[in-house]
Symmetry: C2
Subunit: 150 residues, 2 copies
DNA sequence: TTTTCATGTAACTATTTATGTTACGAATAA
DNA sequence: TTATTCGTAACATAAATAGTTACATGAAAA
């Protein structure tokens, strides 16, 4: 199974959009993400329904972020994407008759839920603005490095 | 994508094996897990290499647990299975040139690693004996419930 | 009004991963 | 020698993600 990269893609798109003062077309975004415009629209559809972005058609149309980055958390984006499963580990039978399997499932479910809760809590703490700041810092660092040659 | 259920299957098998004083054949185990004997051998191969179980061929052959359940943790089993990915979330590009994507990947990787570490730590704390005890308790509970009718 | 641009979406294809199945060889006990 | 059981390769199936094609819809510009 491929690993789900929609959260990564959505964040990447949002940060690029936020850097610009005009709408980005799906094709623009697709070029940034090395993917296809339809895939972009599919991913962005959830964000639009959640009110994180808006889309416009026709000339000058495209996608814009509708809220300040400091008000959007990774959790918001994750929820907007439809809360895809975070964990890879599951169990074969959902409602097993075998008591051994019930015990195994309980133990795993409990542990998985604990990890999932932690992930979601952290997602809630991280805002897009934090990532944008990290981006600016890293860009500045690279620029400095580039100048520091010789 | 289906979710990986090998850890669940391995635990289920180990607990059944531990309840018996003779080897369980792959077919026996497959019947318990509602799966195929070849799938069982494939899963158990890792456990054998890790020294958690032994297998014998021919008449009277099959699988036995080689260590006391209090000395086997979920982490041991997870490692024996080859440390399959625990998390579903990934990113599209592994070594992106885009600085925005680098920042997104860093933030996600960090958060994912944190959750993964917690999972592994918990796995290390849970022993098969704990699950066997839970099984015995639940079995007793069910028996009592069954008698308590009317 | 017509043209051009851009999203919205359904339908299909491709790729990857996990699991199931078949087939046969090798080892072991009866 | 035969029945049993693991070991393993090769192939089949199933499910999920992502990529592609095609076309309808809506909006701005010419």
């Amino acid at each position: 199974m491929k690993r789900n990269s929609r959260l990564s893609a959505a964040l990447h798109a949002l940060l690029h959009m936020a850097e610009r003062d005009t709408p980005m077309t799906s094709d623009d975004i697709a070029a940034c993400l090395n993917t296809n415009a339809v895939v972009v629209r599919r991913t962005m559809a959830g964000l639009r329904e959640a009110g994180l972005v808006e889309s416009g058609r026709g000339h000058g149309g495209g996608w814009v972020v509708t809220r300040p980055l400091c008000e959007i958390s990774l959790l918001d984006v994750h929820l907007a994407l439809g809360e895809p499963d975070l964990l890879q580990i599951g169990h074969a039978t959902e409602n097993p008759g075998c008591v051994v399997e019930q015990v195994v499932n309980s133990a795993l479910d409990e542990t998985m839920k604990e990890a999932e809760d932690i992930l979601l809590r952290r997602f809630g703490e991280i805002k897009l603005e934090d990532m944008a700041a990290a981006f600016r810092a890293r860009s500045a660092g690279h620029a400095a490095t580039a100048h520091r040659t010789g």
